[in-house]
């Protein structure tokens, strides 16, 4: 099996130590960091993403694979920066103010990272000022907001208004998700997209950014 396929396979299996070893071996064979990223790490996470979408993978398994991918990425990240390799796009994500639930947001972030996007994860309980600050500072292409409570999802509207007031709304796509969120709500607050689950969020983000 060629080394790219081995890296991808070990990511699917969630074997972080094997991924590290294979990435180091690939680098010692003078394979470029960009090729390792695209043909090994991203390829592996694409399989995970597809399996998750088709309900063949459980959520914790996605995160075990994401850990393996991150282990490989940590090795090549300085080399990618040195070679000035650009990500496909930059996505600022966070769970809105007042809400401490972060699992849905984390999965979307991991999968998008695995698909070749750069993720700026603001964490949970994020105020609108922080969304605006990082959207501007990072020149993000997309903002992803998550909420798990009916009492906190209403804050998404405030963030979108904040982006409008800061003159950023036309420069970024906004997607929202979380248990109480609906398409009707997304339409009402003028988000660009809504996804009912993490797997659909990946497709939605790719459709809007590609």
């Amino acid at each position: 099996m060629e080394i790219y396929a081995q890296i991808a396979d070990e990511i699917v299996k969630g074997q972080a130590d094997s991924v590290k070893e294979l990435v180091n071996r690939a680098l010692s064979e003078n394979i470029s960091a960009e090729d390792i990223l695209n043909n090994g790490l991203v390829a592996g996470m694409n399989v995970v993403s597809e399996k998750f979408k088709n309900n063949e993978f459980f959520i914790p398994e996605v995160l075990v694979s994401a850990r393996a991918m991150t282990a490989g990425l940590n090795i090549i990240n300085p080399l990618l920066a040195e070679a000035n390799v650009k990500a496909k796009g930059k996505v600022v994500i966070g769970t809105v103010k007042g809400d401490l639930h972060d699992i849905g947001k984390n999965i979307v972030g991991m999968m998008l990272q695995g698909a070749g996007y750069e993720i700026v994860d603001l964490g949970a309980d994020v105020p609108k000022e922080k969304f605006i600050e990082f959207t501007q500072k990072e020149e993000a292409n997309m903002v992803g907001m998550s909420a798990l409570l009916t009492t906190t999802m209403i804050y998404m509207k405030e963030v979108i208004q904040g982006l409008k007031d800061a003159g950023l709304r036309d420069k970024v796509k906004v997607i929202i998700g979380g248990a109480p969120v609906t398409q009707a709500y997304a339409d009402q607050i003028e988000a660009d997209g809504y996804a009912p689950d993490a797997a659909s969020a990946i497709d939605l983000a790719k459709d809007l950014l590609d």
Binding site: K53, P60, G98, L149
Partner: protein, 319 residues
């Protein structure tokens, strides 16, 4: 079954993952169709039943099912929340809780640890778990060792009142000079598909901690016995039906097809696999990252989690 009657179902298994799978199958096939406060208008009614689930060996392997709505590091943090009160400091002040739905403060109204270990009655704070341990160590066969969570003043007006209502325990002699700690928990309401498993991992970890404290007090061996879990409403929310039923046209497997496509070993994990992820999942969750991230956590809670972390790093510790 007479129309309008909620079915009463029972499940019995040796391990937690076996019990979990059986419970999902039972509620899906035999539950009643009924709405809940959390269903959105476009969701189908939830599937629901009154259910008693018995796990004979809560620490038998494999102990972990792979189907739950978090990562392993996140699960570890939740266990610390229930056993050591890691997030008691996220509970909002009493005057905000009393505002009920009018409160704009979105912090929590309770934690299980807070209610079990620091239950407030008028001006008193009662450690009910300590009282349980004391009572059981004194009179193992007592039927009075229990801890409650419900607060009739604080809970009815809130959006998310506690699901766990009561924890009850009793010791039986094991015939070899030691004791077996049996525990029951009673739940008002429970999300079977996305909360039951994590709840049970945390509650059985607490069960073991109680058994260890009784053992220390009695100076006689006390091992973890069977765990019984009784839910008035154990449900699968309508919003999960898409995930349970799948979509053959789009090639999306149903939950049951997913289970059938793998062996039991392939849909579960042993504690040994899980332990390193509990310590640090490499994605910012787990005991180590939690201690680094949550700088506002009170010192005594931090010490308890740090102690747990050091025990976890030893070979014989089972998560």
């Amino acid at each position: 079954m007479l129309a309008g009657q909620i079915p009463i179902l029972s499940v019995e298994a040796d391990t937690i993952p076996r019990a979990y799978e059986q419970a999902i199958k039972e509620v899906w096939e035999k539950g009643i169709s009924i709405r809940t406060e959390y269903d959105r208008p476009e969701d189908p009614p939830s599937r629901d039943a009154t259910v008693i689930i018995v796990v004979h060996e809560p620490f038998a392997q494999p102990r972990f099912h792979r189907s739950f709505a978090d990562g392993l590091g996140g699960l570890a943090e939740y266990v610390m929340e229930v056993v050591h009160g890691a997030h008691d400091y996220w509970v909002k002040p009493l005057d905000e809780i009393l505002k009920g739905k009018e409160s704009k403060d979105t912090r929590w109204t309770y934690t299980y640890h807070g209610r079990l270990f620091q239950y407030r009655v008028e001006d008193q704070v009662i450690d009910q778990v300590d009282a349980m341990i004391h009572k059981l160590a004194q009179t193992g066969y007592t039927r009075r060792a229990q801890a409650i969570t419900w607060n009739p003043k604080l809970d009815p007006p809130t959006e998310d009142p506690p699901c766990l209502q009561r924890m009850w325990g009793r010791l039986c002699e094991d015939g070899e000079g030691g004791y077996v700690f049996n525990m029951n928990t009673h739940w008002r309401s429970r999300d079977l598909f996305k909360a039951w498993f994590e709840n049970v991992i945390a509650i059985t970890t607490l069960m073991r901690a109680i058994a260890e404290r009784i053992e220390k007090k009695m100076r006689a061996p006390v091992r973890v016995g069977r765990y019984a879990d009784i839910c008035d409403s154990l449900h699968i929310y309508g919003s999960y039906f898409r995930e349970i039923e799948g979509d053959p046209e789009k090639g999306i497997k149903s939950f049951f097809e997913k289970l059938e496509s793998r062996s039991f070993e392939e849909r579960t994990w042993h504690s040994g696999f899980v332990k390193p992820y509990f310590i640090d999942d490499g994605l910012g969750k787990g005991l180590k990252p939690m201690l680094e991230r949550e700088t506002e956590m009170p010192a005594e809670v931090r010490q308890a989690i740090d102690k747990e972390l050091r025990s976890m790093e030893k070979d014989d510790y089972i998560v």
